[in-house]
């Protein structure tokens, strides 16, 4: 790392670190949904990225509507959009589970193909409805601008907001999964479906709601994503592989592992990007993950659930 003084290096690390935090937030929100669907239910949802795009497009639609009809409401619409994004994506997920996924629980590899088909259909639907060009919603003023602790460090406010949102959602998911009676049912169903059914848990309903929740969180990820980049029909596919790596690397059934792995992957990629090209940063990060997974296939935090 020749040519940089130590204070410059500190600034680079700080700024790339914060840039990485935006990536971390989106990856974590995506991965939380996926960790629930994949980790708890064993369903490989290749259309997860498209549910994220559903959230992003919902945000875009709301911003356009607000801008045209209720300009006075502009500063607040984003908060509504987050909630709307959640419910739209969750509703789509509920529908997908009912129509598709519930028939395939015993064939995990086939869910992969079916949801890939679903993702193709959703992508083409976005392209037909919103056009092939990327769109981005008009963001409220309070999300613009940045915070400058020193001359060299410049931290964008939208990144901070997305981080706060991510922490909130993560906390919510933890509460739901580990403290609520619903979470208890989900975990019981994961561990022993037949026994859970025998003690009176409606496992089919649990499955459907769990899937919907995972997709809903992806929708929130989509809303958060609009503050960082613009949305196109294929936005979802760009993140889906990384998200799967986050979940697998973290240990499929461990939410804590998901957080740790999202953080390390996002930071590694973001900091490497400054020193080598973006594509090589991605190659190095993914390659390292693959090698680590070859030696430790169960991921960072091993799951205690039997396979």
């Amino acid at each position: 790392m020749g040519g940089y003084t130590s204070s410059e290096l500190m600034a680079i690390f700080a700024m790339q670190g914060f840039a990485g935090i935006s990536l971390f937030s989106v990856l974590l929100l995506m991965a939380l949904g996926l960790a629930i669907i994949f980790g708890q239910m064993g369903v490989i949802n290749m259309a997860h990225g498209e549910f994220m795009a559903a959230g992003a497009y919902t945000t875009y639609l709301l911003s356009t509507v607000t801008e045209t009809y209720f300009p006075g409401f502009m500063p607040y619409y984003f908060l509504v959009a987050i909630v709307a994004a959640f419910f739209v994506a969750a509703a789509l997920g509920y529908l997908a589970e009912w129509a598709l996924i519930r028939h395939l629980y015993k064939r995990p590899l086939d869910t992969l193909l079916a949801t890939w088909g679903l993702s193709l259909i959703m992508q083409q639907a976005y392209r037909s409805i919103f056009g092939a060009r990327e769109v981005s919603p008009a963001l409220p003023d309070w999300l613009m601008g940045s915070y400058q602790p020193t001359d060299m460090i410049d931290i964008p406010l939208n990144g901070m907001f997305v981080l706060a949102l991510t922490l909130l959602i993560t906390g919510g998911v933890f509460y739901l999964m580990f403290k609520s009676s619903w979470g208890l049912k989900v975990r019981a169903t994961t561990q022993n479906r037949v026994m859970s059914g025998a003690v009176g848990i409606n496992t089919k309903k649990v499955d459907r709601l769990t899937f919907a929740l995972g997709c809903g969180i992806a929708g929130v990820a989509g809303a958060a994503f609009t503050t960082i980049a613009s949305t196109g029909p294929t936005t979802g596919t760009l993140y889906i592989v990384d998200t799967f790596m986050v979940v697998v690397f973290g240990g499929a059934a461990s939410l804590l592992g998901t957080i740790a792995s999202a953080f390390s992957i996002a930071q590694a990629q973001s900091i490497l990007e400054f020193f080598i090209s973006g594509s090589m940063a991605k190659v190095f990060t993914l390659l390292t993950l693959v090698v680590i997974l070859m030696f430790k296939p169960e991921g960072l935090f091993a799951s205690k659930v039997r396979r």
């Binding site: 064939r107 088909g117 697998v248 070859m294």
Partner: protein
């Protein structure tokens, strides 16, 4: 003779299917299609190689690889590197600042041929590399995964990531690989023009013969004891392990074999189409190869070829006239195959061929005796 009949062709039904396919691709297509369409079919048939490899690996082995594009790409790039070096002789590239290296290297300010390109000057090395490099690569992945009993979903995801890595690497390292455009402008093989109509037709027939040979070889594997073990592993892996077999080694072997088949397809692709690019390596082509196998019937070697032809004909027809509709159709096809026809075209044929045969009264006597002999086992929600 009976060895040939049972082991290579798979009994009466297998023979009929094989002869029908051979007639279709060797006689009907060349007679019915013009040069341009025939070259298109050659391209589709090269996709049948990875599709067949997936029948072995996924249909019979129960291990889904989303990385067959890696091997298809390695084979294709191997061939393309040789042809590119021949096309970049110092005379042909005299206008470059460094004559004698491929044009894209010159554009990216490289002044010498990278070391890993050097051996591709030799045709023998290239042919060996096309067969060996993908197998060694598959061996490394296979050992790392299967010895640790990683399989199923995890294996699918890891292979998918590897194919993503390879694509990003090829696109990113433009000076060494030709980047997103791939390796283009391939002209001659040992001074022989590969773009002529005669060459295209010849490559079509070579592809056909290689494909038929691969089908025979795969059938031989499946009818051997190894094939039975493969099926047993798919359905009850632990029992095979408890019987004293080393499950991992069998899986590694079939993975390497499937990699080699895919690479042959890739090399023939480069020859038939005249270029190779990363868009045939990555996630999307790899998954498309799975759908070829799935539509044809994941348990049918011959079905995989029909699946390839059908989808690619459909894709060409649709994307010429209704490009928007095609993705909907393709997506719907994925879902329909998984939900309603898990055994694909071959499964449909098996279910309904009895009725057809009954109607064709005089043929009935020919077929009915041996109906169950070579029928592939039904798929029962395994994996």
């Amino acid at each position: 003779m009976s060895f040939m009949y049972e082991k290579l062709l798979g009994g009466k039904n297998g023979t009929v299917g094989f002869v029908l396919l051979a007639t279709l691709i060797l006689v009907v297509f060349p007679l019915a299609l013009d040069g341009f369409r025939l070259n298109l079919v050659a391209k589709y048939l090269t996709y049948a190689f990875p599709a067949i490899s997936l029948v072995l690996l996924w249909g019979y082995g129960g291990t889904l690889s989303l990385g067959q594009g890696i091997f298809f790409g390695l084979g294709g790039y191997g061939m393309a590197m040789f042809l590119k070096l021949e096309a970049s002789s110092p005379e042909n590239t005299a206008i470059q600042s460094t004559p004698g290296i491929p044009d894209f290297m010159d554009w990216n300010q490289l002044t010498a041929l990278p070391w890993f390109w050097e051996p591709f000057n030799s045709f023998t090395f290239t042919l060996l590399a096309i067969l060996i490099i993908p197998s060694v690569f598959a061996y490394l992945i296979g050992v790392a995964m299967f010895k640790r009993r990683v399989g199923g979903v995890y294996f699918a995801i890891i292979t998918q990531v590897v194919s993503l890595i390879l694509t990003v690497l090829i696109v990113g390292q433009q000076g060494y690989t030709g980047g997103i455009n791939g390796i283009t402008d391939l002209r001659t093989l040992h001074g022989w023009d590969i773009t002529s109509d005669f060459a295209k037709n010849l490559f079509y027939f070579i592809t056909c013969f290689l494909l038929l040979a691969v089908i025979l070889m795969s059938r031989f594997i499946l009818t051997s004891k190894f094939g039975r073990l493969l099926l047993a592993m798919r359905d009850k892996e632990d029992r095979v392990r408890f019987s004293g077999y080393d499950v991992a080694n069998f899986k590694i072997f079939i993975f390497c074999f499937s990699a080699m088949i895919s690479a042959i397809g890739g090399a023939m692709f480069t020859l038939s189409v005249g270029f190779m690019s990363p868009s045939f390596v990555g996630i999307v082509p790899s998954i498309e190869m799975v759908i070829f196998a799935a539509v044809g019937g994941r348990l049918s070697l011959i079905g995989a070829v029909y699946g390839c032809l059908l989808i690619n004909f459909g894709k060409t027809a649709f994307s010429e006239s209704f490009p928007e509709l095609w993705l909907f159709l393709m997506g719907g096809l994925f879902i329909a195959v998984v939900m309603f026809f898990p055994n694909g075209l071959a499964g449909l044929w098996e279910d309904h061929s009895h009725h057809i045969k009954k109607r064709l009264g005089f043929i009935t006597s020919l077929f009915s005796k041996n109906d169950t002999a070579a029928v592939a086992p039904k798929l029962e929600g395994s994996n």
